[in-house]
Symmetry: C2
Subunit: 521 residues, 2 copies
């Protein structure tokens, strides 16, 4: 690794001509001490060196080179601080600010990139085999102190290593398969069209969103009831109501900007003053239709929230900068669940069926405890969910151990399975006798079960009082999808449904609102 | 009223010099017929007159004046259509398009404006006492056919008449008052601080949104249960799940652009391709924080949905262009309710308490039937809600007859009470022994009850098979607010709560997730 930096300090005044020798002496000292502090013995050539300096009016120019230890920008900051003290006390001259205007980073990758990558803040990135040269300009104090240059190197490494990963499939292995055959399934094709014809769902002028009419609402509530009564309550989970608007800081800590392309963002209006909207209202009233998108865009602020995507975002935020006691939580772990209304994904491609939605329902389980306890809880949720899906709903399904989705959310890929073969994610996928409407797969994932290790403890800065490792986990069980696969297995005739499901609904299904022109079936 | 219009027709070719006399004759005929068609006998001077015309190459210029009957732009369209037929058949010349480039409207207001108003599409609007002159330019075919000019006149009338209305208060009268005195109330100040200290709610980094922790979630669910069991079910309401993302067309039909300044808008990402977000992710990864708002704004499309504000928006959309049978619906009205998660308002001012929120819970009742039946249903919901609030929750409250909120939403004000003294809106307001955190009022509206007449039937184009008047209504009961006023009356000690509420919760309140640093109380 090689770092070459050019920059200057802006002084509050100029240094007296006669003092230059004294400055020279001080700089020589710095090079012997600060520029080598922390460098392992015998690796001094990989510390930092001052290769040039000059004073021009109130600008103190420096040029620094370094290897991997005491990187040039770190040396630059050390130099700045030391010089500020020295110049201040000796000549009454202060350091106003510092600026790096040219910084070249050289490092090696483990593998040659398959194609070149670029990165924000870099004027250029050059590749020569495994060797990378990054050209930076304009690093201010924040960029220096927050160590942008090291993060730029990590980011490039990550982008290149991602070129070698071809998706989630690579890490997936099936750990269980519960298959009795599709003969007992009532439907052999996607239930969406029949549901529309029967009026259980009604079209709504937004892709991936349906009006959920009384019979379907009753079925979804029954699925929710099963999940709460058969999984959440017996395991001691308590209900919370997690917000659905996720502020940008929380999105950041959750690592969700890595999936900004899948999130629907929420923007408050530019003001509360109706005067600011008068042209918009004029437009609507005079033309007799909604305003053009661009006019409406002028009336909103930049996004202030993401619409909840994972549902559990606010759970980790609940612990932000808090301290917990794992002695207590080992015995009584924190176990909460949430069913506070729909959550949102901006799904790709044509959404045609009711199995893949932009607005959908999920019961979200969240938990926090010791590593062992979190794995135990996650496994217990999986076990009980398997009972609901396999026994009560009587469906064929598969359980896969797979890539941790929380890493995917943060735009990362897992490079190895975590400590002692810990499986971070299980997916529960129901097998179907047909391809779903929106994907070329004869299956549907209906639940997933995660242990995040201390990933969120770190990102949301919460700690055990004795600094022991705090784990979190979550599990999402989708009543919308449970209802879909239930219909495939048991059909639309209420009479034949299992008693465990009927008990949530009553004697019969609720009726449709009556119209002459609907349902068209 | 006076209308003066200058415009031209763009022809597919020029008219032969020798045909001009024939054209003149045809125009004379038009002036006698088309320009006066529909004008009441004896009011011919208020029809339209062709005050000038000339042909320049392939442009056929005309100048038209009119009174209130056959307004100049209507005469212009009639002229265009007639001339297209005549020129086509006689000379093989077509009319390509038409354009009005100068249109002056003069009309009188009922009252002199308190201050001048402007309007979109008008270059200028001049006032002289009650007399208004509007200067329009550039009306294309759409603007002519969709009658922008008449709507501009209505819009100006509306803006001026609104100057004389000083808010909702004017139309409010109290119809009931149930007051027994605050002595029995457990709290004499806002419960927010105590709720935070006890950990029933936890701060969340977004104004007007709280983390709702297990005890509070249990209380809100109990309020929801009371509303469903004591109001919705006995009145035969069935549950539906209404979408929370409201597409712009539905917002338009609902009349919600009039309150665009109170709606939180939702924007999908510019694409699903992660490549388009690479600079955003670079920014986040390199700087270690959320992206600047402006960079995020570049990554989202213009708003595609509003976040549900009234909750009932999708209900009317359910009937869009459908036909119903009031013979049936008189006996079995359509009665649905929704509690499909939170809805959203962008509240003004500082939100400090838990009584006024940007994200909040409401059970929404919606119904559709004959006028009488809708009033009857609305009144029955009010009556049962009064029982819950007054008897079970044992609160002091007031019922006001007030301005129809659906008109307010559409940016309108009610100019008179509707047919036969029909009250369109009742508000149920709980009286409090203190001013709430966010408003200088010692009260809180917890529910409202509406009959919309055929306002939404018209806007969403649904009809009875025999064209009888179709009414709709809605009522919103807020469990978040019920919980708030409940705490004021009954305090935080579960033991003393009414049995009707406790039965929804169990033996005791659920416990808090345990942290060493929280709750701070």
């Amino acid at each position: 690794m090689r770092f070459r930096l050019k920059g200057y300090l802006e002084l509050s005044g100029s240094i007296p001509e006669e003092a230059i020798d004294e400055v020279k002496g001080f700089l020589g000292e710095i090079c012997e001490t600060l520029f080598l502090r922390g460098v392992p013995r015998g690796r001094e050539e990989e510390g930092a060196r001052l290769v040039g300096w000059r004073v021009e009016g109130d600008k103190f120019h420096v040029e620094i080179e370094s290897g991997r230890y005491v990187r040039a920008h770190v040396a630059f900051v050390r130099l700045r601080n030391a010089l500020a003290g020295f110049l201040g006390s000796r000549f009454g001259v202060g350091v106003r600010s510092s600026r790096v205007f040219d910084y070249v980073l050289e490092f090696e990758l483990e593998r040659e990139p398959l194609e070149p990558v670029s990165v924000l803040f870099a004027r250029d990135v050059k590749f020569d085999g495994r060797k990378v040269t990054v050209f930076l300009e304009e690093l201010d104090d924040t960029a220096l102190e927050r160590n942008y240059s090291d993060r730029i190197i990590s980011r490039i490494r990550e982008k290149v290593s991602r070129q070698y990963v071809s998706g989630k499939g690579e890490f997936t292995r099936t750990v269980k398969r519960n298959v009795r055959g599709f003969e007992r399934y009532k439907l052999s094709e996607d239930p969406t069209e029949v549901a529309v014809k029967l009026g259980w769902i009604k079209e709504y002028p937004a892709a991936g969103i349906w009006q959920i009419m009384p019979p379907m609402a009753a079925l979804i509530r029954a699925m929710e009831g099963l999940i709460v009564d058969m999984v959440a309550r017996p395991l001691g989970f308590q209900e919370v109501m997690l917000p659905r608007l996720i502020p940008l800081d929380v999105e950041y800590r959750k690592g969700h900007f890595g999936i900004a392309n899948e999130i629907i963002w929420a923007c408050p209006p530019i003001s509360r003053d109706p005067k600011d909207f008068e042209d918009l209202i004029d437009y609507v009233e005079i033309t007799g239709g909604p305003p053009p998108a661009e006019l409406l865009k002028e009336k909103v602020r930049p996004p202030m929230y993401g619409l909840s995507y994972a549902q559990c975002e606010p759970f980790y935020e609940m612990f932000h900068k808090e301290i917990v006691d794992l002695d207590l939580l080992e015995k009584e772990p924190i176990t909460l669940f949430d069913r506070n209304g729909p959550t949102y994904r901006w799904e790709s491609g044509g959404l045609r069926g009711m199995e893949r939605l932009n607005e959908f329902h999920r019961v979200e389980f969240v938990f926090l405890s010791t590593p062992d306890k979190c794995v135990e809880i996650r496994d217990a949720i999986l076990e009980r969910t398997e009972k609901v899906v396999g026994e009560i709903l009587d469906l064929d399904y598969r359980v896969d151990a797979t890539t941790a989705v929380y890493l995917e959310h943060a735009g990362k890929t897992e490079e190895e399975e975590g400590g002692e073969g810990l499986v971070k994610t299980y997916d529960l996928t129901v097998l179907l006798p047909f391809q779903t409407k929106s994907r070329p797969e004869a299956e549907l994932e209906v639940a997933s079960f995660h242990v995040h290790t201390d990933f969120y403890a770190k990102r949301f800065s919460f700690k055990d009082k004795k600094r022991r490792t705090v784990f979190t986990g979550c599990a999402g069980l989708g009543p919308s999808r449970f209802a879909y696969v239930f219909l495939v297995r048991h059909g639309f005739d209420f009479e034949g449904w299992p008693a465990e499901v009927k008990k949530y609904i009553g004697e019969k299904l609720p009726e449709l609102p009556r119209m002459l022109t609907w349902p068209k079936g």
